[in-house]
Symmetry: C2
């Protein structure tokens, strides 16, 4: 993948850039940037996740952050690309940490630069040469073995000692964040309402399989082995998470729910009332992280007439087993990923299924997505030396502002490639779209986290009429026997499954902290693109995710496996810095 490197061009730019920074003259620095330019910083200079767009924003950012962060020791690690479009990977230091970045040149000037914090000086993760010994050789009558120390730590945590961080939610996001904190020596508790790590996957419907391929899904520290299947079945994923919690020695409280949390800004501690194994426990963490999934609570719509409906109504997140719906007429309201999966599962179980599509859906065939969109997360990439950490940095180096343009080109290719498939799908009555600006699945995922489906089989059933589609008419009300639409049609149903998505994660804050805090923090996720369900103003980054929020000591972590993996590192570094009382002045703090 990497081309013969135009090292001279790239190292000349980096040298000039570093000299300009050292001079302290913002104009000198800006002279190294193209007119249209972007600087994405993840924690290194901003103690925030922030993209500065254009020279004016970069000038302001330089003025605010550079004196206090003292960047230095810029060193080119490698260069790649072709003349006119080259890329440099570099390392650098700040007063408190070490970082890695990527810049991309347009001619001889920088169009985009990414800077990321990789470690805190004096608080590096023990690994490789610095890994622990595991035993203190010699004789010691007061020796505590590894097992004894672990048991003692477990017994004390939450009673005589307090976690520095409480992570609410022990799915993949909470687990990965916990793993990072563990390495950094930050005491934490992960609170999970299910009985076992991995149950958040196990409890879903029987045919669930990850839609993203294995190369995109690795957890940090212990990658999936080379024999791992491309698409991980849900129970296998559950087992992997369970073993990961155990061998990474995470402080994981299963069967535990956070009930009520309040923050004391003077004492800088939360008070969190919890129920653990049926018994009340109060924790006093310095920081509270919501890692309750990419989304908040299920969104159950209270349709007019719902009380009249004689059958069962449930949300898709509570749908587990199709067998009991055999021979029944089931209406699935919704047309995104879960709706499609649930429809297939029902059809396979022998139900009579109708998908009620309320708005258009972006559909991409899995094989096509693998071929066109996962190029840096693939077996070929691995063979080319692009491991998952490298791929994550490559992906992060393109600012959100530039992604629609690239995604539009990608979807032009995808639509051309699968033109015949899309024609047949639309002929079935299914409402297809590629987003308001034709940018496809990934931008929908970032903007709203909904409205798309990676086709692993449902679309052909829709095309064949095996799964019926009712689209283009609003639901007027439920009747005793089904659903009545604004176009005066009605469908009969014994069961209605609402695959209507989830509320924003900040609704969990309203439940556990209070409404005022939730409102002050505002919604999570979304870029402020101004597209449907993603109101502006433009943010340039995901709202409230992985970075300081308007509520001191309150954080959000989540997203798919890839985002959780990548950002867990930076969120952990932000928490560690606070624990060590390293100054963390947040540039453009939301508070």
């Amino acid at each position: 993948m990497l081309q013969t490197a135009p090292a001279a061009e790239v190292s000349a730019w980096l040298e000039g850039f570093a000299d300009a920074l050292a001079s302290g003259d913002p104009d000198a620095v800006l002279g190294h940037f193209a007119d249209e330019c972007y600087w994405r910083d993840i924690v290194a200079f901003t103690w925030n996740v922030k993209t500065m767009e254009g020279k004016a924003e970069i000038r302001d950012f330089l003025a605010a952050t550079f004196a206090r962060t003292s960047p230095s020791a810029f060193a080119l690690r490698e260069a790649s690309g072709q003349p006119g479009s080259v890329e440099g990977w570099f390392d650098f230091e700040t007063a408190t940490g070490r970082g890695t970045g990527i810049f991309r040149l347009q001619g001889s000037r920088c169009r985009t630069i990414l800077t990321t914090q990789q470690e805190l000086k004096g608080h590096e993760e023990p690994a490789g040469h610095t890994r622990r010994m595991g035993v203190r050789h010699g004789a010691d009558r007061n020796r505590r073995t590894w097992t004894e120390l672990r048991a003692q730590e477990d017994a004390e945590l939450g009673t005589t000692t307090q976690p520095y961080v409480l992570i609410i939610g022990g799915g993949q996001g909470g687990i990965m964040l916990g793993a990072r904190l563990k390495q950094l020596g930050v005491p934490f508790v992960i609170a999970e309402k299910n009985a076992k790590a991995g149950d958040s996957w196990r409890n879903r419907y029987r045919t669930l399989v990850l839609h993203d391929p294995v190369w995109y899904d690795h957890l940090p520290y212990i990658p999936f082995p080379a024999n791992w299947p491309v698409f991980t079945p849900k129970d296998k994923m559950g087992d992997w998470l369970e073993m990961y919690v155990k061998v990474m020695e995470l402080s994981y409280w299963a069967s535990t729910e956070a009930v009520k949390a309040s923050y004391d800004p003077a004492g800088k501690r939360w008070t969190v009332e919890m129920i653990r194994d049926g018994r009340p426990v109060t924790l006093k963490p310095a920081h509270l992280v919501f890692a309750t999934g990419a989304y908040g609570p299920p969104r159950l719509i209270d349709f007019p007439g719902a009380g009249d409906f004689a059958g069962e109504i449930l949300h898709s997140s509570h749908y587990a087993e199709g067998a009991r719906y055999k021979g029944k007429r089931v209406a699935v309201i919704g047309a995104a990923s879960s709706a499609h999966d649930v429809c297939v599962d029902l059809w396979e179980a022998g139900a009579d299924v109708t998908m009620v599509q309320r708005s258009p859906t972006t559909v991409v065939r899995s094989e096509t997505l693998m071929e066109f969109a996962f190029d840096i997360y693939s077996e070929n990439a691995v063979a080319d030396g692009i491991d998952v950490d490298r791929a994550d940095l490559i992906a992060a180096a393109t600012p959100f502002a530039l992604q629609p343009e690239a995604q539009r080109r990608l979807y032009d290719r995808i639509r051309a490639h699968d033109a015949e498939f899309y024609k047949r799908l639309e002929a079935s009555g299914f409402l297809l779209d590629f987003g308001d600006d034709e940018t496809g699945l990934m931008m929908k995922a970032y903007r709203t986290g909904s409205g798309y489906y990676v086709d692993v089989g449902a679309s052909e059933l829709i095309i064949a009429g095996e799964i019926k589609v009712k689209a283009g008419a609003a639901i007027e009300r439920l009747t005793p026997t089904g659903i009545r639409f604004a176009d005066d049609t009605e469908i009969a149903a014994d069961v209605i499954i609402q695959s209507t998505g989830f509320q924003s994660m900040h609704e969990n804050v309203a439940k556990i902290v209070d409404r005022a805090t939730a409102d002050a923090v505002g919604p999570c996720w979304g870029l402020g693109s101004g597209m449907r369900n993603d109101p502006g103003p433009w943010q340039g980054e995901l709202r409230n995710m992985y970075k300081p929020t308007a509520q001191e000591a309150l954080w959000f972590h989540g997203g798919n496996l890839a985002l959780s993996r990548f950002f867990s590192k930076f969120l952990a570094l932000q928490l560690k810095a606070r624990m060590e009382a390293i100054p963390t002045p947040v540039y453009r703090s939301p508070a």
Copy 2:
């Protein structure tokens, strides 16, 4: 570590060698070998683990094997070394498989060559590009999920289907062999008497920690992560094995013992009576593998007067917890690894400890061993691109016959480095040796599996007199109050712990199959060096390990983590070939 490669010299040799092989003329082939020469073959040509020593043995080997294996496609992978002492890594094919080897030249001729089978054509392990999909996309009313298929397979195995291989013993050796078989699609059952995978480690004494460093201990497919401690505590090792069994999806029958096994040479099946969870089960595997540890049953010596002794007598393998011996006088009979560990554990618990040393022990300080002997299994090696698979091949490329010479040089350096330490240790009365031929720990390990200690703390306690040593006099008998020696001295003891090692693994065959089969197979382990406890004739390889034995369809697997890891691959390939009815004529079969 690898030097600039003398590629021309090395590729010239390989070309000439390959041409000579192709010519079918043994003299032409032998012309490429030095007068003193060794060819170690692991499965590739011999379907055996065999070292041919000298030109006469190589000539015989060529005549017997080459026509039927049709070696071809020799290709140099890399070259290293300095002029006069160069090394080449190469790939090759046979009629049925693909292999990798290493040759080392003396001048322009070969002194040693290693050839190893790496895979069977048409039966490659699915991994990377060929990994399974994990799901069949599309809609299928008869869909069986991953979980359902696994459950069905588990339910059928041993009832409606039979394993091709039964592995007796579910410690590290059985588990690694199972993992290899799983990848090769060979149905197997691992039978383990403990309740959980990993218990073979958990059940040992509380302070047990691996004496080998992490770089030497990896399991295949899922290496320990970079944050894993250098020396793994026993319970942590237990947890890792337990998770490994689960995520590698091994057919692991815990709480299961093999009671009685007999072989039907006509039907080519074993009948094995087992007790699983208290209920009898009969399995009919085609092959039986004993993986019951590096050694056989504990060796309990019936000392004269044992019936008179008023206190407790136990074997060190049943010693778990020092606390109950606090304040007691404990005599530990034995002076190898377990004896030292048990003595320290007892001393730490506050017992009055005497080590009864019956023969001299090789002692090496752990730090020194790490620095001098584990150079290819170290963080530095990893940084130099020598991962564990590479290190294993490098280690395997030196035939056993040449190891004493290298080990003697190593121990000359170790003794010089730690001269002061050894002087103090001997001054305590402890009997120190470095083997009959001054070759140290590793050769003792291969020859007898006993008589050495990697010092992680006991030696300083011995030097300080905190652990007393009684050495140099035979035990005459036990008395009601202690042990009486041939030199007319006596020591008082409340408890006697026999750290007297283990019997050969073939004693387990006597127990489960019968004495005649055990005698026909003969002892396991040992090289036939003619040194103490390793009677000749010279074998050149470990007796009966990882290769066909005198009993058809009976195999032994075991050794430390490193040997189990390396040889599990080759044992699995031998079993897979038999399952696929690929001809496996064994060169110099023991039968």
